[in-house]
């Protein structure tokens, strides 16, 4: 008779080995989030937005273009005929078309539901009216805000972190389970006295190792490249990411609990993840959605994770202040795990 390893530990270790020996999986878990952060970092780097492209058309177009170029807030482009200008507007090449009929009167063509079109309307009008001699009754001064912690990148980075924890949790666990089911490696284990809960728990626990690397990489990238602040305690950030990761690993188990094919599983994963991408405040605050939808949105695990991360990192909130969010994630994780254990298809 011989000594044995703890089965939960042995399963977790096996899962980790399996994962690190799969180079493709490593790429998606570690390289992808960094690439995403770099790309977004460039897109949202610290500088004023590009001037909005606008079109001018009509007999006085040359004078208008000159005035707009001088103001520098928009990028004017002259069109020979109104239909040409309107075509450019329709295809999104310009945000606004200024038509001057020759009588000095102006017509602005634009789509009011496009934010950049409305900005262009204000900037263009302002530039032209000034060039034609308007004076402001009240002089105003501008103080520009560049404070670390209130820029868009500061808002974005915790969201990217949350998004990644969700993606790798659900994909990492779900994919490996469906794969094991497809390759029939589960069946032979079911014939042993292995506890089924050990197998599922090991899938979740194996996420820890990757979690440390993943969170560390993204946070370090944000701090070094963009000076994103971490105002609260690092251990609360750690606890939040651990709970978030376990919660999404549990959801990954549930999503993969019955799927027989990778297609079915990835469909389910998208069904679960895409709404949270949109609703949970990754790229913009979830407060922008209607009040009636807020109870649902706030109960989503990714909303809880993102809110908690932002509160701790940007506002320096304490553990007690984010305990509500942590509770939401814990409940999701436990319910998903229990449901997965109940309905899991072992063969």
């Amino acid at each position: 008779m011989s000594e044995r390893k703890n089965p939960l530990l042995a399963l977790t270790q096996a899962r980790i080995r399996e994962f690190v020996r799969e180079p493709e999986a490593l790429f998606w878990v570690f390289v992808f989030p960094i690439l995403m952060a770099v790309v977004l970092g460039f897109a949202f780097r610290d500088r004023p937005p590009d001037p909005v492209p606008v079109g001018v058309v009509g007999p006085g177009a040359a004078a208008l273009e000159e005035a707009l170029t001088k103001a520098g807030t928009t990028k004017p482009q002259t069109y020979a005929t109104p239909p040409e200008g309107l075509a450019a507007l329709r295809t999104g090449k310009i945000a606004l078309l200024v038509e001057e009929s020759g009588t000095n009167d102006l017509v602005y063509h634009f789509d009011p539901t496009r934010p950049d079109a409305r900005i262009a309307r204000l900037e263009v009008d302002d530039a032209i009216q000034r060039a034609r001699g308007r004076t402001d009754p009240t002089p105003a001064e501008e103080t520009l805000v560049h404070e670390k912690g209130s820029r868009y990148i500061d808002f974005l980075l915790p969201g990217i972190l949350g998004l990644n924890l969700m993606g790798t949790g659900i994909w990492g666990v779900g994919f490996s389970i469906v794969n094991a089911r497809l390759k029939k490696t589960l069946k032979v284990m079911v014939a042993t006295p292995m506890r089924k809960s050990d197998f599922l728990l090991a899938q979740m626990l194996s996420r820890f190792l990757f979690l440390i690397l993943e969170v560390g990489l993204i946070l370090a990238f944000g701090v070094v490249a963009f000076q994103v602040p971490i105002r609260g305690s690092l251990s609360v950030v750690g606890l939040t990411t651990i709970l978030g990761s376990l919660c999404f690993a549990g959801i990954g188990l549930l999503v993969a609990a019955r799927a027989r094919t990778l297609e079915a599983a990835s469909g389910l994963m998208n069904l679960v993840m895409v709404p949270m991408w949109l609703l949970s405040g990754v790229f913009f605050s979830s407060d922008r959605f209607p009040k009636a939808a807020q109870p649902v949105i706030q109960a989503l695990p990714l909303t809880a994770l993102n809110n908690a991360l932002r509160a701790v990192m940007l506002e320096g909130k304490t553990l007690a202040a984010v305990s509500g969010e942590l509770l939401i994630m814990t409940i999701w994780g436990i319910l998903a795990f229990a449901a997965a254990l109940k309905i899991f298809r072992w063969q």
Binding site: R4, K5, K184, A191
Partner: protein
């Protein structure tokens, strides 16, 4: 093993998949310490039966007890005491042989160490090789090693040597013999009569989901009442009436242009056959004889060969 109750017993086992009756009223009793073989062609219902006995598949009807316990009530206890190698035991390809054994060992409260298991199946040299890099024979040996990890009282082997090289087959046979020699029970399925004759104390011949014959390999062969087989072909072919007149010939079957005759005594039947062929003007193209095997038992009972290849 001290108890006299059967190690495995099932009665009236039935299982259908859609319209196909895979198992159709099968009764079986395996004594403790015996090596019991289920022999039959592909699709006879062997795998379905063994997976029901292993508690992996639910029967539609019938009663199963294993070590006096029932599935659904004592599953964990039973799993501790059983070892299972599936028809195709798929193991994680990214783990090494040793890591795989360590993992399977961790599932059992008591059992053999990974080192012992490596030695049992002569896998020492492959200790640090990834499962994905093993040959078919090495993989199958590893699957059996995993089944032995809990030092089981009953070892279930579903087609353990199908498609294996002769060396791997011999190593597996040796290991199964060792397991049996320690007083433990083995239930295996196979469609190799040689395997059944060599390893099994008793054999059940399975066809269309039921047992059509049961006994020791020698009893089953003896039941043919004709221990010799004469296998011949002639030019031109001869009619059956000619053969019916030959003394001491029992069953007659035609197979791929050849005749197969069951004979009680070669000394009596062969000269008579040659004389009869000569008289009919038929020229002998081939002639061979062999002692009857389980294959011939199956053939005479079903009119089909075990391996329809």
């Amino acid at each position: 093993m001290s108890s006299r109750s059967p190690a495995i017993s099932c009665r009236g086992l039935r299982k259908s998949y859609d319209d196909v009756k895979a198992v159709d009223g099968l009764d079986l009793e395996v004594e403790p310490g015996e090596c019991f073989g289920m022999l039959g062609p592909n699709g006879a219902g062997k795998t379905t039966t063994i997976e029901i006995l292993e508690g992996l598949t639910k029967a539609d009807a019938g009663d199963v007890t294993v070590l006096g316990r029932r599935w659904g009530h004592h599953d964990r206890e039973l799993r501790e005491r059983l070892g299972v190698s599936l028809q195709e035991s798929r193991l994680t390809e990214k783990l090494t042989v040793y890591e795989t054994l360590e993992l399977f060992r961790s599932f059992y409260a008591h059992g053999r160490s990974p080192e012992q298991l490596l030695e049992d199946l002569s896998l020492e040299e492959k200790r640090d090789a990834r499962v994905g890099k093993l040959s078919g024979g090495q993989r199958q040996r590893l699957a059996v090693a995993c089944a032995l990890a809990g030092d089981p009282e009953i070892l279930f082997l579903d087609e353990p040597t199908t498609g294996l090289d002769p060396q791997s087959r011999l190593q597996l046979w040796e290991r199964i013999a060792v397991h049996k020699a320690s007083g433990r029970t083995v239930l295996l399925t196979t469609h190799y009569m040689e395997e059944a004759e060599r390893l099994c104390d008793r054999v059940a011949i399975v066809d269309h989901g039921r047992i059509i014959a049961l006994g020791t390999p020698s009893d089953l062969v003896a039941s043919l009442n004709a221990p010799h087989i004469i296998d011949f072909a002639t030019e031109p072919a001869v009619a059956e009436e000619l053969l019916a007149r030959i003394p001491g010939v029992g069953d007659r079957r035609q197979r791929d242009g050849r005749w197969l005759l069951n004979a009680a005594s070669l000394a009596q039947a062969v000269p008579a056959l040659l004389a009869a062929l000569d008289g009919a003007g038929a020229r002998l193209v081939s002639l061979s004889t062999h002692r009857a095997t389980l294959e011939d038992v199956f053939l005479s009972m079903t009119g089909r060969e075990l391996r329809d290849e």
